[in-house]
Amino acid sequence: MIPVEYYFVLSALLFFIGVFGFVTRRNLIAMLISVELVLNAVDINFAAVNRLLYPQGMEGMFMTLFVIGVAAAESAVAIAIIINVYRNFKSDSVDSIKNMKW
């Protein structure tokens, strides 16, 4: 039997690796990939809580299901934006989006 803390720690590690990746990377797509990591970490968390702490309900599972769906949609829109950015700024680096800078 795997204690629930292990799942939480795993989830936390994955989450913060994702955050680290988001902060560090310069390429837009790489940032998005890091965001996906974060979302997946959250999914693990929901699933573990549901199964190990509240097995009679199904909320966690459905939450995870919907998060997967939403994440997919969000990736699609984000990629559409990145394509637009690439067209206007001719670069896939986040530094090129400088219009709001002072």
Binding site: V19, V23, T24, R25, V94, I97, N99, M100, K101, W102
Partner: protein
Amino acid sequence: MEIYSYSFLILLLPALSFVILALAGMKMSHKTAGLIGTTSLGLVTLLSYCTAFAYFTADRTAEGAFATIVPYNFTWLPLGNLHFDMGILLDPISVMMLIVISTVSLMVHIYSFGYMHGEKGFQRYYAFLSLFTMSMLGLVVATNIFQMYTFWELVGVSSYLLIGFYYPLKPAIAASKKAFIVTRFADMFFLIGILLFGFYAGTFSFDFTVSGDVRAMAGAAFILPTALVLMFIGGAGKSAMFPLHIWLPDAMEGPTPVSALIHAATMVVAGVFQIARMFPLWINYAPEALSIVVWVGVFTAFYAAAVACAQSDIKRVLAFSTISQIAFMMVALGVCLPGHESVIDAHGSLGYMASMFHLFTHAMFKACLFLGAGCIIHAVHSNEMALMGGLRKYMPITHITFLISCLAIAGIPFFSGFSSKDEIISACFQYSPVVGWIMTGIAAMTAFYMFRLYYGIFWGTENKEAHEHHTPHEAPLTMTIPLIVLSVITVGVGVYSTLAGFLGWGGSFGSFVTANGQDYTIHFDTQIAVTSTIIALISIAVATYIYKGEQQPVADRLYKTFPKLHRAAYKRFYQDEIWQYVTHRIIFRCVSTPIAWFDRHVVDGTFNFMAWGANEAGESLRPWQSGDVRQYAVWFLTGAVALTLVLLAL
């Protein structure tokens, strides 16, 4: 009592005409503007006469004095215990001043129709005249010292505006600034005096019968005299006493009717009026301080008379003559002797009545002299006596009226100046024989220089070349009628008062205005009257001998013998230069410059530094707006962690 409720119109009508002429004046024709100004003033004059008639024919109070009537008095600005009121006070001197101001102002308004004809800014001129009249009227009917101060300042402003009327000319601007600054400087002392008075007495009002306050204040022995003397300094500035007289000769840069109205008859007597107003306090609680008034007045009178003997510009001669005559009025007020137990004694306070009488008569004949000078300047187009001479053939009316006024100022019987000046000299002899003889001597000098002026203008050699180009002609009717009216008043008052004084009739000035309001029949002291008349006649004879003929050998010889003295007198004994030195070297250099440095570097420096600091703070915060999403994420994370820690700690 009905007439008193209309008294506010006396102030309202000129104010309205000022507003109308100021706002819409440029859209009207000259004639309309002049008519509006003159009509409103005519109504004011009529109203003043009716008020005066009602006042003086009303019943007297139990002590036989005229009642002090206050038709309007409302609190304008309450400040804790003190309050500034605005109101109208009717009192023998204020009613007399109403008559004087409105009459002279009306004459000036009519006169200006002719004198300022064709002048650019005609409407502006009438607007300012209305403003001035309103301010002066407000000053004399003030119910409390603060209202008087307010209108005092207004009068100063009107004077500034009117002196600087020919503002394209540099001398006019300089003169108006000088007048305003000198009087403002004096008013600083006035204000301190008012504040002292108000603080200790607990009231600003002229109602001195509220005896508790004033006596309590008199208990603080030196406060009341100090406050009164400070107020006197303010009055001295406005009334051109030495050494604050320097603005009055320069004020002659303004148009001549303005000089007649403001600087001869009305504004310059404001200082005298102020002392008369506060007279119960002076005489009861600060009789020693009156000696300051006396000696300042005596010295000023002598100084001005000496300078007037050597001036060549006719308006300057008249200006110094005004200074001298006002000094007479001040001296008259100063020589009053206190009575017993705070009851003012009409005989001991003869000077009060004499001063007010002289104010009245002086206003009339001095205005006549100035307006006459205006006619002459209008004819000859110059102020200098050297360019005049022999004008009696060309300007008969001006000649006669000018002569009448000169006789009045010299103190010849049957002209009004005799009665008033005689009373002043009697009062001086009552106080001290020394002062009496000095004033008699100055009266002789007055006669001398006035007749020097008269002969210089109307007799002597004609300026033939100028007269060929442009024959001087008599002034138009609008300018001569005021002259005639004023001389008639002079003669009329003169004849009646001379006869009344010698024959002991009542109804002369003393029945109207005295220090305690009671009836006082003027009796001329025969000794003094005869002495002064003889001295005046001698002075006139000397002047005639020296100045009447075509050539003036005696004058030239005197000039050659005392060149330095003459030059000093001509330059007014270098008074202006002394003032310049004091202000530039001492005040500007030692006081103003350090203060200016402090202001620029310390005061401004503090604010500049704060602004610089704010700027720097903003600049340092600017990089936060980097537009860099990742940085935002880092801060977001940091914030979330910090929040969690805080919540954990709690």
